[in-house]
């Protein structure tokens, strides 16, 4: 059975994938749908949903729908870039530790433990505050707090695969360390990595929203967290300003989690039947 059809066996994962696709299309099409940008003052302030503005306008007269669409872009850019950063850093350190073991392993694992004992959101706030709020510092901060999990996963995989016959055989045939690591071991831990990485995207979206909510997002980019934070003060009189971005965050994070589960099952067919 192909990977795709195994994935499709999980209906919820398919729903998640479709929802995610919608978010992706929104993010890509933002400049076409709302060419004036998310901050444009397009109508009277605090218009309820319906009419010209299907999701209403915020306290400055900005279209909430435009904010959702442009916010999707910000969320995806930040979360995907941060996840890639975390995966690259995590894979390199984890592979090093798991392949060479010994003192290298001990040293790297103590470093990851150091990061894991600091509450990650607090560390992210600190990093963004120090680097000054901008999209690059958000990406960096989220990557820095996310890599230890990946590193430990990869190290575990490498430690268990390192002693297998095919690795020993490759070494016996004279392959160098780099070839063994990247050609033979790494592809074998791709499946857990993809599953964990996809979940990392979801947590990165939450991180980004949280940072923006606290005013630590890039002030030039619309973000769902920023919209909630700006609309929070008028929650009682204009519920739609924070409700829709809230739903957007919920739906995106949920769909990524569903897709992550689906991938995990697709890579490990035994899991589902167990």
């Amino acid at each position: 059975m192909s990977l795709l059809s195994r994935f499709a066996r999980n209906r919820l994962a398919v729903v998640g994938a479709l929802a995610l696709l919608l978010v992706l299309v929104m993010a890509l099409a933002a400049p076409l749908l709302y060419p004036a940008g998310a901050f444009a003052l397009v109508g009277p302030p605090t218009q309820p949903p319906g009419g010209t503005f299907p999701l209403g306008t915020d306290t400055l007269g900005r279209d909430v729908a435009a904010g959702i669409v442009w916010g999707a872009r910000t969320s995806l850019i930040v979360s995907v870039a941060a996840t890639l950063g975390a995966v690259v850093l995590g894979v390199l350190t984890g592979a090093f530790a798991g392949y060479y073991r010994g003192i290298t392993d001990t040293a790297i694992m103590r470093v990851t433990e150091f990061f894991q004992t600091i509450p990650s959101f607090i560390l992210a706030i600190l990093l963004v505050a120090v680097l000054s709020p901008a999209v690059t510092s958000e990406i960096l901060a989220i990557a820095v707090v996310s890599w230890p999990g990946i590193a430990r996963l990869v190290r575990g995989e490498f430690a268990s695969l390192g002693g297998r016959e095919f690795v020993l055989a490759t070494a016996g045939l004279g392959a160098g360390d780099a070839r063994i690591v990247f050609r033979h071991i790494l592809p074998n831990c791709a499946s857990p990595l993809v599953a964990v990485g996809s979940l990392l995207v979801a947590s990165a979206i939450l991180f980004e929203s949280g940072l923006s909510f606290l005013g630590l997002g890039d002030p030039n980019l619309m973000s769902w967290g920023l919209m909630i934070s700006a609309g929070r003060e008028v929650l009682r009189s204009a519920w739609w300003i924070c409700t829709f971005p809230g739903i957007a965050i919920l739906a995106t994070v949920l769909s990524i989690n569903l897709v992550g589960d689906g991938l995990n099952e697709a890579f490990n067919p035994g899991l589902r039947d167990r």
Binding site: F39, A40, L41, P45, T59, L60, G61, A129, S132, P133, A134, G215, P219, N220, S229, A230, E233, V234, R236
Partner: protein
């Protein structure tokens, strides 16, 4: 102040859309009741009660109950008797003779005399008060010919000095308590001893400060209240809830979020007022760094002033609170005649067309994407409202072809960038005019206030010898009409030059329980004593 004139003032603020229905706190037909406890919200908790060392805004609501000044101020912003029952200013303006109230004692039992005035001004305030370098610079000596007379000797006429002698600006301290002690380390810093209507009771850190009625207060029969509790509530929605449940009676300055004010106003138990802030007069502004072209061109600065819809900011960002600013001096100074709106006005119907023409004339043609030039706006870090304003400014200036990038940093980094490193194009601070232009306005426009590393002074590099001369003349002119003329001239020149863009006059709101009466009795508002305040019980 009679109740009828207070009524008139109340009406004026109604017309300005400032005060809410009713004139609570003023003009009560009922007669005051003795006794009761008033709970006021002070936000945040003060770090110290040493009012002679710090002008932090959260200290004075407590300390002005305890410490009194030589004078207080009436609604026309004129000095009114307090510890001084009368005064004469010499015709040359070089001395002021204060005649002090008789029979005043400090809370520790010591008699109040001119020696206390001399000691407070010469040995404490002049040495350690943060505003002394400006306000008390010309005060050379305080003579005490007899126990009830204090004579201030000045090196230059200083009309602004009479505007800075309230219990908030210049608290009168007890000489015997301060003698032979370093004023910065006085043991009564956090349990102050003054002459005021309330005595310090206790301070439960993180919770409240208790003030008790001074039974020996020199104004017979006052105060009406038995006790004042200053409560500290960190969370803003809890503060609003405390007012709604009647647990707290009074919250001034920004203790209540503007977004909550409308809801609290609708509560039949509560009322609001915007009076009692006439001596603070905050103005929100955009500073433009003239060392960063094209801000060195006057046309460009004026174009920015034209491009901004101040009404939009007030209605949509400040929840309807505020007033468009016309220049460097707040309209609250209309009472003393110093304010004029006869300046270049930017709120004209064809303002966008004018702005575009000014930029065209300055040689800034529209390039790619319709933009003429790009710059950065430093976002004020004092709260959400400023970020919204920055987002609005970005949109408003894009209309005339200025491409803004917003940068938000924490307070320390922001202030360092704009007042020490001058590494900015535009910044959006707010300034308080305080009680006199010498104290609150001058600092931003005169050449000798270009002081690297000092926050909230001249960081635009604006330097105009004519303006410098006028400000010096204004600081020393004692004839009110001539003085007003000088400041009118300054406003005209500054608005035409637009070294900064004045946005809105910030309006603070006091929310209070309708059972509380006469809580706002003068322009100092919560920075003056509640000796006439009473509560229905």
């Amino acid at each position: 102040m009679t109740s009828s004139s207070r009524f008139l003032l109340g009406r004026r603020s109604l017309i300005a859309g400032a005060a809410s229905v009713g004139l609570a706190g003023t003009a009560d037909a009922q007669s005051p009741q003795r006794g009761g406890t008033m709970v006021m919200i002070v936000q945040p908790e003060p770090a110290t009660l040493a009012a002679y060392l710090s002008v932090a805004g959260n200290i004075a609501p407590v300390t002005t109950q305890i410490y009194e000044g030589l004078v207080t101020y009436d609604w026309s912003l004129k000095p009114a008797p307090k510890l001084a029952k009368s005064w004469e200013i010499a015709p040359d303006g070089l001395s002021i003779t204060f005649h002090l109230q008789d029979g005043v004692t400090f809370h520790n039992g010591a008699k109040f005399t001119s020696a206390d005035v001399q000691y407070a001004f010469m040995q404490v305030l002049k040495k350690v008060h943060p505003r002394a370098p400006v306000v008390l610079a010309d005060l050379t000596a305080v003579d005490t010919p007899d126990p009830l007379t204090a004579v201030f000797r000045l090196s230059h006429p200083a009309p602004y000095l009479m505007m800075s002698l309230s219990g908030y600006d210049a608290p009168i301290l007890c000489k015997s308590v301060f003698e032979n002690v370093d004023p910065a380390a006085n043991p009564t810093a956090n349990k102050p001893i003054g002459t005021g209507p309330f005595k310090f009771g206790s301070w439960e850190r993180g919770q409240y400060i208790r003030l008790d009625r001074n039974p020996n207060y020199w104004q017979n029969g006052l105060p009406y209240l038995d006790r004042i509790i200053a409560r500290f509530i960190a969370d803003s929605s809890t503060r609003s809830a405390a007012l709604e449940t009647g647990e707290a009676h009074y919250a001034a300055f920004s203790a209540v979020n503007y977004s909550d004010v409308a809801r609290l106003k609708a509560n039949p138990m509560l009322d609001t007022t915007s009076k009692g802030y006439e001596m603070f007069s905050g103005i929100s502004e955009i500073e433009l760094n003239e060392h960063r072209p094209p801000f060195d061109k006057r046309e460009v600065r004026q174009a920015i002033a034209y491009a901004i819809d101040r009404k939009f900011i007030i209605d949509n960002i400040q929840y309807g609170f505020g007033k468009p600013a016309t220049g460097p001096i707040s309209s609250t100074f209309a009472a003393s005649g110093l304010y004029t709106d006869d300046v270049l006005r930017f709120d004209v119907p064809d303002r966008i067309a004018i702005a575009n023409k000014l930029l065209d004339d300055a040689g800034l043609k529209r390039g790619e994407g319709g933009m003429r030039f790009a710059t950065t706006l430093e976002v004020n870090s004092f709260g959400q409202q400023w970020q919204r304003q920055a987002e609005y400014l970005k949109q408003a200036l894009a209309v005339i072809g200025i491409d803004l990038t917003l940068r938000s940093e924490d307070t320390g980094a922001w202030l360092r960038r704009v007042y020490t490193n001058y590494d900015y194009g535009m910044s959006e601070p707010f300034f308080s005019n305080l009680s006199d232009p010498v104290i609150g306005v001058q600092r931003q426009y005169v050449t000798n206030q270009i002081r690297k590393g000092v926050d909230f002074v001249n960081n635009t590099f604006y330097s105009n010898p004519e303006v410098d001369t006028l400000f010096t003349a204004g600081a020393q002119e004692i004839d009110p009409a001539k003085r007003a003329e000088i400041y009118h001239k300054i406003q005209k020149i500054l608005v035409t030059d637009s070294p900064v863009i004045w946005l809105t006059e910030i309006q603070y709101v006091t929310v209070f329980n309708r059972k509380l009466h006469d809580a706002t009795t003068g322009p100092l508002g919560t920075y003056s004593a509640f000796e006439r305040t009473w509560i229905e019980h």
